[in-house]
């Protein structure tokens, strides 16, 4: 069965949704991601939906659920790259993703995650620690 890959980047997990998800795939992602968070002890999750062109109430609800579950598992979640049409549709559907942080790009999402964790005292020396752990683009 097809899966959406979950990449580990330092202390964060990166999920890039690049296909139009059907319902089972979304449910599988929810299971996989929660399992990976507990497995790796990741403190942050970055969900990139820049390739997602369409959402409906189910997908929207799934994104909100995933964010909420990650938060309960002690991992901050940022949804990045949402297209304007998707944003409009979500609002029109009454799904304004309460409690989900969003960022326009992955880079800014990453910064946001670090800032949040730093503020919470999780990351003592943000730049040094990140460069050691993070294979992503340096900011």
């Amino acid at each position: 069965m097809e899966r959406i890959p979950i990449l580990k980047m330092g202390r964060f997990l990166l999920v890039t949704i690049q296909v139009d998800m059907h319902d089972r795939l979304a449910l599988a992602l929810q299971d996989d991601l929660t399992a990976r968070i507990t497995e790796t002890g990741a403190r942050g999750v970055l969900i990139d939906i820049s390739a997602l062109e369409m959402v409906d109430s189910f997908i929207g609800r799934m994104i909100a659920n995933i964010a909420a579950m990650a938060r309960i598992l002690d991992a901050q979640t940022v949804v990045t790259g949402m297209q304007p049409a998707v944003a409009i549709t979500l609002v029109e559907l009454g799904l304004d993703l309460p409690g989900v942080r969003t960022a326009l790009t992955v880079e800014r999402g990453m910064l946001l995650l670090r800032a949040v964790l730093h503020a919470a005292g999780e990351l003592d020396q943000p730049s040094a620690a990140d460069e050691g752990l993070d294979a992503g683009p340096a900011d």
Binding site: D20, M21, H22, D23, R24, E53, M54, V55, D56, S57, F58, R61, P84, A85, V86, I88, T89, E92, L93, G94
Partner: protein, 462 residues
């Protein structure tokens, strides 16, 4: 509403929902909707299609365009219908899987959403006003759009595979039912076969019993005939002693009675001999003694034998001398027995006229034909074959007067067959009869049915 149907498709599961929302979005793009409306239409269709799959077990979806350019999408399922429509419309309904917001959401995204729900299923009609800058599309353009949507539909290889799979399953089911049918037929056939086999076995059994009965009859006949001959010979010998005056003189009346006894004993002994011959042939115990002789010799002996049988001048016997010199190779004794039988029969049934014995030779089949023709009372056509049956006697005044055994003709026919030939008769009542005996010049020894008994202890003395 006079809508133009652009495309129809069916759906079954979540995979189809994804395909359909892509299709809906593509259609919206082709119809000239702006990007945001494309997403709205796609999302709304996705909601309704998911409901149809989850609650209605799948259904049909039709894309259409109304005359005023309104995009109309109609989703039909065959589910149990929506129970609490007002609650659903207000977004208060809770489905077992979570908040039932599909219809509620679709209403927010589309301009118009209509429901027709009942026990037989639900039909949801979604409508979106035409894009302002693209008011009317020609029928030709709509047709093109429909075609391009239909053409874009199949590129889902997984869906294609699933359709194939379904077809395959159906075919398998069909095959299995055919297989069952064949097995059932096979079973029936096997049963019939068993019945046929049982019948065959029964038939074999019957044939065996019949053969055994026939054999028993033949054995009985040959045994009893042998036993009968001894006392008969005693009677004949004793009468001869009496007639020879060995025990003193006889009065005229005594002599007459003793002669009657003698002639009766002779008749009885002839009958027993015939019976014995017949039984031997049937039991396959007859031995052929093949010698070389000419037909002239055969007929000469016949003439000598038959002349004393003719009493008075009313009947004349003519034996034609054949004018061909070839020799025959057959059992002379049996052949002359047959001829004797035929001639004595002819004499018995011919009060006056002529009895003629002729001989002819056919070179092609190498057969000798001997015919005995009389001018006697003849035989009715119905009786022509019956006279060759054992103990059959045709009812006639002459028959009653002349005592016959009824064995002569059947015995003759059997003997003729034994020699590889045949005996037949033609006759016309009141004019006369002709008996035709056809015998191969060279007796087919190898095919003789008497062959297996050739080494047997019994010898033919009939």
């Amino acid at each position: 509403m006079n809508e133009t149907i652009l495309h129809s498709t069916s759906m079954r599961d979540a995979q189809d929902v994804v395909r359909i929302r892509q299709e809906a979005r593509q259609l919206a793009a082709l119809l000239g909707y702006e990007a945001q409306d494309q997403v709205r239409i796609g999302a709304a269709v996705s909601e309704i299609a998911r409901n149809a799959c989850e609650h209605g077990g799948g259904g049909e979806l039709h894309y259409a365009v109304a005359p005023d350019g309104t995009c109309v999408i109609r989703v039909t399922d065959r589910g149990p219908g929506i129970a609490d429509l007002p609650a659903v419309l207000e977004g208060r309904w809770q489905s077992p899987a979570g908040p039932g917001l599909g219809i509620f959401s679709a209403r927010r995204l589309m301009d118009r959403v209509e429901f027709a729900t009942g026990d037989g299923g639900t039909t949801v009609t979604l409508a979106k006003a035409p894009p302002p800058e693209c008011p009317g599309l020609s029928a030709q353009r709509l047709e093109e759009i429909g075609r391009s949507i239909a053409a874009a539909a199949p590129p889902d290889p997984l869906g294609e595979l699933r359709i194939r799979n379904r077809e395959l399953l159906l075919a398998l089911e069909d095959l299995r039912s055919k297989q069952l049918e064949i097995e059932r037929l096979n079973g029936e056939l096997a049963e019939t076969n068993r019945g046929v086999l049982a019948l065959y076995a029964e038939l074999d059994d019957r044939a065996l019993q019949l053969g055994r009965a026939s054999e028993l009859k033949s054995n009985f006949l040959s045994g009893i005939s042998h036993e009968l001959r001894t006392p008969l010979n005693a009677i004949r010998n004793l009468t001869r002693l009496l007639l020879d005056r060995m025990d003193g003189d006889l009065t005229a009346s005594q002599e007459h009675q003793v002669r009657l006894i003698q002639s009766a004993a002779v008749t009885l002994s002839d009958m027993v001999n015939d019976l014995l011959d017949l039984a031997r042939i049937e039991a396959g115990k007859t031995v052929l003694r093949v010698t070389e002789f000419t037909v002239a010799e055969l007929l000469g002996a016949l003439r000598g034998m038959a002349r004393p049988l003719i009493t008075g001048d009313a009947v004349t016997l003519t034996v034609d001398q054949p004018d061909w010199p070839w020799r025959m190779c057959s059992d002379e004794g049996k052949l002359s027995q047959v001829l004797r039988n035929l001639v004595s029969n002819a004499i018995r049934f011919t009060p006056h006229g002529e009895i003629r014995v002729t001989a002819a030779y056919d070179e092609a089949p190498d057969m000798v034909t001997l015919a005995v023709a009389d001018t006697g009372i003849g035989i009715a056509p119905d009786d022509l074959e019956r006279i060759f049956e054992e103990y059959a006697q045709v009812d006639s005044p002459l028959q009653r007067r002349s005592a016959g055994t009824g064995l002569g003709l059947p015995l003759s026919r059997k003997l003729a067959a034994l020699l590889g030939g045949s005996l037949s008769a033609v006759s016309e009542p009141g004019i006369g009869s002709t008996f035709i005996l056809r015998i191969p010049r060279q007796c087919p020894e190898e095919e003789s049915p008497a062959k297996p008994a050739a080494t047997g202890p019994t010898s033919d003395d009939g």
